[in-house]
Symmetry: C2
Amino acid sequence: MDEDLSDNRNECNMRSGSSSFCYMKGSSVFTSKETINNMEVKSDDLGLAQYKDLLPYSKSSDVTEVFLKDVFDIMLKYIFKSYDRKSKILDFHHPHQFLQSIEGFSLELTGEAESLHQILVDCSDTLKYGVKTGHPRFFNQLSSGLDIVSLAAEWITAAANTNMFTFEIAPVFVLMEGIVLQRMRQIIGWEKGDGIFSPGGTINNFYAVMLARQKILPDVKQSGMRNAPDLVMFQSKHAHYSNRRPAAVLGIGMKNCIDVKVDEVGRMLPEDLELKVLQAKVKNKVPFYVSATSGTTVLGAFDPIPEIAAICKKYNLWLHIDAAWGGGVLMSRKHRHFVDGIELADSVTWNPHKIMGIVLQCSALLVRHKGALEACNSMKANYLFQQDKHYDVSYDTGDKTMQCGRHVDVFKLWLAWRAKGDAGFEEHVDKCVELSKYLAQKIKLSPGFELAYAEPKYTNVCFWYYPPSIRNINDLKVRSEKLHKVAPAIKARMMTNGSLMVSYQPLDDKVNFFRNVISNPAVRKEDIDFLIKEIEKLGCDL
Amino acid sequence: MDEDLSDNRNECNMRSGSSSFCYMKGSSVFTSKETINNMEVKSDDLGLAQYKDLLPYSKSSDVTEVFLKDVFDIMLKYIFKSYDRKSKILDFHHPHQFLQSIEGFSLELTGEAESLHQILVDCSDTLKYGVKTGHPRFFNQLSSGLDIVSLAAEWITAAANTNMFTFEIAPVFVLMEGIVLQRMRQIIGWEKGDGIFSPGGTINNFYAVMLARQKILPDVKQSGMRNAPDLVMFQSKHAHYSNRRPAAVLGIGMKNCIDVKVDEVGRMLPEDLELKVLQAKVKNKVPFYVSATSGTTVLGAFDPIPEIAAICKKYNLWLHIDAAWGGGVLMSRKHRHFVDGIELADSVTWNPHKIMGIVLQCSALLVRHKGALEACNSMKANYLFQQDKHYDVSYDTGDKTMQCGRHVDVFKLWLAWRAKGDAGFEEHVDKCVELSKYLAQKIKLSPGFELAYAEPKYTNVCFWYYPPSIRNINDLKVRSEKLHKVAPAIKARMMTNGSLMVSYQPLDDKVNFFRNVISNPAVRKEDIDFLIKEIEKLGCDL
């Protein structure tokens, strides 16, 4: 199953540092011992060194260098493994097994200080027992792959260890954020506007509802929702759950969060939206917000934006597009038409950490209205956003967000964009869609497989696998009940085997089906072929 | 000003890889050329390589290895620089200068793909023009330092590139989070409870108000705030602004967010809290929530928890402790008494990325009530939290949070804790407090310096510097007006010089004063001595 990826870096140069012990510089922490994941730390590079031998506790940088180089070697090995089809995606263990410790890997915090050597072992074990989300056969999540450039950028970001709230302590990152957001707005089709990177699409969808509420209730920050009109918001029944959450949090109430029907491939039905808007109005409620989805989570459907936008215009509703998953098509001349009309939106969620492959997390909210975020979120804290600083304080972006400290999420996107150019993203999106079409074709041609929905247009491919034992059951109810248990059973075997990961779920009246997603640039046709064969292999005896 | 830190890694071994060009393996990207930051990329290691020569686009891992090694070298150099007192903290430029490009460093996104060599230059420049928050003379923020172990952990986290929502794709991290949160609760004094890591103290303070609201209004998710009672919440006037924000967001209204008076060193006055609770009650409002602060942002004050808890008990109010900054004293036997009574709280915000030195971001919410987070946040999305998975799905923590995808923030704390043990954190906190006492002493003894508040107990030291020109002004109003401009002027010079960074702000009736914070393990007495001398040097002619 596994390949030995170790290279010949075992020549060690003895070197005497200024620290209190001897160690070898530049040596690898790995031996060539062949193991499942080949990640054990074997060398004694660091002797008995403790954290106190690191900077800044020690005045010498020697141990720091050796330690970090060893960490680097562990990571490099992991990266190579991630891309290696012969390696397992995961080495599955149950929670109780981890909690008892596995092959000496204990998660316990004893309160005692461990040696740096043990810390390296911990790093290695942590990766060893994790899930290789960059593996070419990890199709489980909308985010997958392990983009080398954005990974490098995330490392640099960690080393910079700063915070996005002020230009003062993050001058480069704050300006990069402005530039990247501007570029994203231009791609959407807006000359001006606003935007922010936040910790995930859920937070961005939350911001969107806040912005809409702020527009219709400018006094809401001060006065709350107690005497507000009975606001109502809408999204398709297939929208991501984060589009409903703001109703629960913001004081609107889930009862005022209305699901709109979808068509047979999961697109919001504009006529049902208008019907529900009118139904709310006759109850003296106040419709104010619609979230349309570009790329639904399960089916990858794109709601028809122009028709929805027309309704929003007619009834003066804020139009948000949750393009967390589908936003990537904006980079593709071939597929951009999926989001035709996106420029009509008031706000857009777009997650470059999904199909654009940026390392987690990287999620943007784009807003058509300049100054909207600040109007909504500003708290004017004068210990942080002093107005008498010596630089142009309009670059202090912290007062635009709901957070105070904010992680630097822009650099990994900026750097990947520099490396790949527009064309690199375009090519990747096109390839993912093409490979998904290939999968859909394979499913149509493979006995026992069935597409759960009409041919997909994006990279979500939803399908059932029928083991031979249930193919000839005539009683549809019985067959359906049995089929419902097939995907979980195969998924359990996938994980135990470590050979493949594909997600599954039921939806509406359909029993559990697999949802395969392609967003990893490592995926090739051979992986799709493998997927079909592996599901068959794992499920044929069920 | 600057030291050449380059080592002798310029022997390059020519190696022919399987890729289409030649490069040197293991060579440093640096020459020994002496420059301000010595960070220019000079080598041609990567020739004309593009991102397509990286994995997974290329089948060979050679370029990936060279590229990442070069990135690693850039980071290593930066880390050494960060700890080097002879290097600048920052190389200040104004926003418009950056936007025009500085010495060839352009932030522009042209849409064209750049070579990997250029990407390395970008990495180097990004660090070069940033702020070294780990520098021993960066006293500007509550978070400072550059902890090597947690930095390594953040790199590993980036390589793991996964998401906290399910055990399925983050088994190790999800379990680690449970273990770390349990340890933190034990330290607070709770046997059971709940908790979560979230993107910053602001989000955690937000969660706390949501939890309290959920308790008093169990139907709020469904019904909203429209027919809810007129909820009122309280915090000291010196509380961080994130304690007020939930009132603006959750539909409570800022008018129902009441500031409580503080004493002469910034501690909440319990008698004023009780007065304001009663004032609200007589207006038929419903007090439900108090946030007490352990370690205020500016003064580092600790509100008296037992007295506040008694009032909360009497009036049935949720007690939250915002110990984002002060929570670190829980690790110190000597200073833990600052937070005596913390176990009486219903919830606690505690940011290990502050005085515990963990790389940004690492912020925990601890809750005394088991299941509270799920009751508040659960949305039961069945595409993600399938109940028919083959493992114990109670470990899928995603339904406890307001987010969907969530960054892995626990590993850097877990790993640092393993490396340092309880004692390592304790020693660090004690040292920061001790150094701050040393600074306060120095201020008392240095002509022209004055403490703005009575002797500090934590690491916030607030003080004025009076340039000779204003020392003898008798008109207090005039003197005060002039003094107000001193800190911003000196701060501008600090930044232009790159020699020191200390924050400043006005507070209540006090004009701009410096707030010095020590949380960086690199700080020594010599840096405190430098701080005093440098402020004098930069400000004496004002």
